[in-house]
């Protein structure tokens, strides 16, 4: 649950204007998510790994983050090939795997890895506070920006509170079983977390009011578009546009 960043590094990608990163990552994700052409998907994945190379993200960190996504995808590989109508590929007992099913899962695998790789390198290389301000500068509604920002800050506090409650239950001999007592106790736990979060939110808001908060978060850092940002933006937009054209014209 602990969120780590590689925000400390200093590669070309990390020094980019956060607004550029958000725009590029969002456009890329949308285009890749709706694409179906093999060539587009493979190119997108290759592009993702190019960005990783430039950003100098340690391979170990990258893999560590890709594991959960691919865990879910492995699960899909077990089911989807057998649930699609189409040309039969092989069969296990009464179960028949179809070519269409396998293609479908393969597409999902490539898409999600391409998107994750780009998100990890572009977004996780930026501090949350900076991202929040960049979102605000891009005209994303204030409420969403604040929600995003406070979720990040207080998720640790909530996690600690959750652990405290769990420990309090454990030291009094609570062991989860399949019975009413367990369900009730867990319901109390969740309820308690809601109440505590609500009260915490109230106190935080009060503390902010005391320091003159009037609905706007100010940033300490000024964003500035440098030549390198513009070059990166144009280059990436061109590449993404290229993907769109490839997908649209169905050359391959």
């Amino acid at each position: 649950m602990i969120v780590k960043e590689f925000a400390a590094g200093d590669s070309l990608i990390q020094r980019l204007d956060p607004r550029v990163k958000i725009v590029v990552a969002t456009l890329f994700s949308v285009v890749v998510a709706v694409s179906t052409q093999w060539v587009v998907l493979v190119l997108a994945l290759a592009l993702g790994f190019c960005i990783v190379q430039v950003a100098g993200v340690p391979m170990k960190e990258l893999i560590r983050r890709l594991v959960p996504v691919n865990g879910l995808i492995t699960f899909l590989w077990f089911f989807l090939p057998f649930t699609f109508e189409g040309e039969s590929l092989f069969s296990i007992g009464p179960l028949v795997a179809t070519r269409e099913g396998v293609y479908y899962v393969a597409r999902i695998s490539i898409k999600s890895n391409a998107i994750m790789v780009v998100l990890i390198t572009l977004i996780a290389s930026t501090s949350i506070f900076t991202l929040g301000h960049a979102m605000y500068e891009l005209g994303i509604p204030k409420k969403i920006t604040h929600l995003f920002f406070f979720t990040y800050r207080y998720i640790h506090v909530m996690h600690h509170e959750y652990l405290r409650l769990v420990n309090a239950m454990k030291i009094r001999g609570f062991r989860p079983r399949t019975n009413m007592h367990t369900y009730k106790a867990l319901a109390y736990l969740v309820g308690m977390l809601f109440v505590k979060s609500y009260e915490r939110a109230e106190r935080v808001y009060n503390a902010m009011l005391c320091r003159g908060f009037r609905g706007r978060l100010y940033s300490l850092s000024q964003f500035s578009m440098k030549t390198i940002d513009i070059i990166f933006l144009i280059l990436m937009l061109a590449v993404i546009l290229g993907l769109v054209v490839l997908e649209w014209t169905r050359i391959a």
Binding site: S127, I128, F129, F150, Y152, R153, Y154, H156, V157, R200, R203, V204, N206, A207, M208, L209, C210, R211, G212, F213, R214, L217, Y218, S219, L220, S221, Q222
Partner: protein, 240 residues
Amino acid sequence: MDVTFAYPGGAPVLDELNLQLHQGERMGLMGPNGSGKTTLLHIIMGLLKPSSGNIEIFGKTVRQEKDFRSVRQRIGLLFQDADDQLFTPTVLEDVAFGPLNLGKSQDEARTVARKTLASLGLTGFEHRMTYKLSGGEKKLVALATVLAMEPEVLLLDEPTAGLDETTEKRIIDILKGLDLAYILISHNIDLLMEATHRIGYMIRGKVSVDEERIPHTHIHIHEHGRYAHKHGLKWPDKKY
């Protein structure tokens, strides 16, 4: 001030409470749990509205949110739980939050924040993550966030609760070194005697101040017979 306050459906927590704080005065506040000490501070800041009575701050009666906005620039409240106060990921951004709200430029805010951190001996903390600090560090940073607004009065809600002796002493020394009036809530009578001019006791929704001075003497024993010892130097580090 002279106020009454009750939480919905409860008996009054503050019952025609009357309290005055003079310029530059340091006042201690004691009282059992649930006696309304925190409520009192929140009413002064305008976070809670009294059901009746008057609050006069810096010579002006304050009533509405608008009035309290200017009050909050001049009075700083240190919350009981530092996690409520520190909400940005890094220390510097949190300390600069108040000055930025007051309309300072980014450079000014950064300068004020650094200066405040340095004055509390927190140089080098600027880019630490607020949620990874220890309890004592959180409290000091929370104090920095309040002091960065350059208030004239501080309201301190149990600033040393749960802290070790060294950190407690550090905070008290900082408070004593400030040129500010403050109200200090604590359960530690020795601490209040050291850091405040007078001590109010809060009970049944009222504050009573015992200002009578009672001279008295203590008998003491030289437990090592005729070997002389110097008085007051036995535990030089433990003044209270």
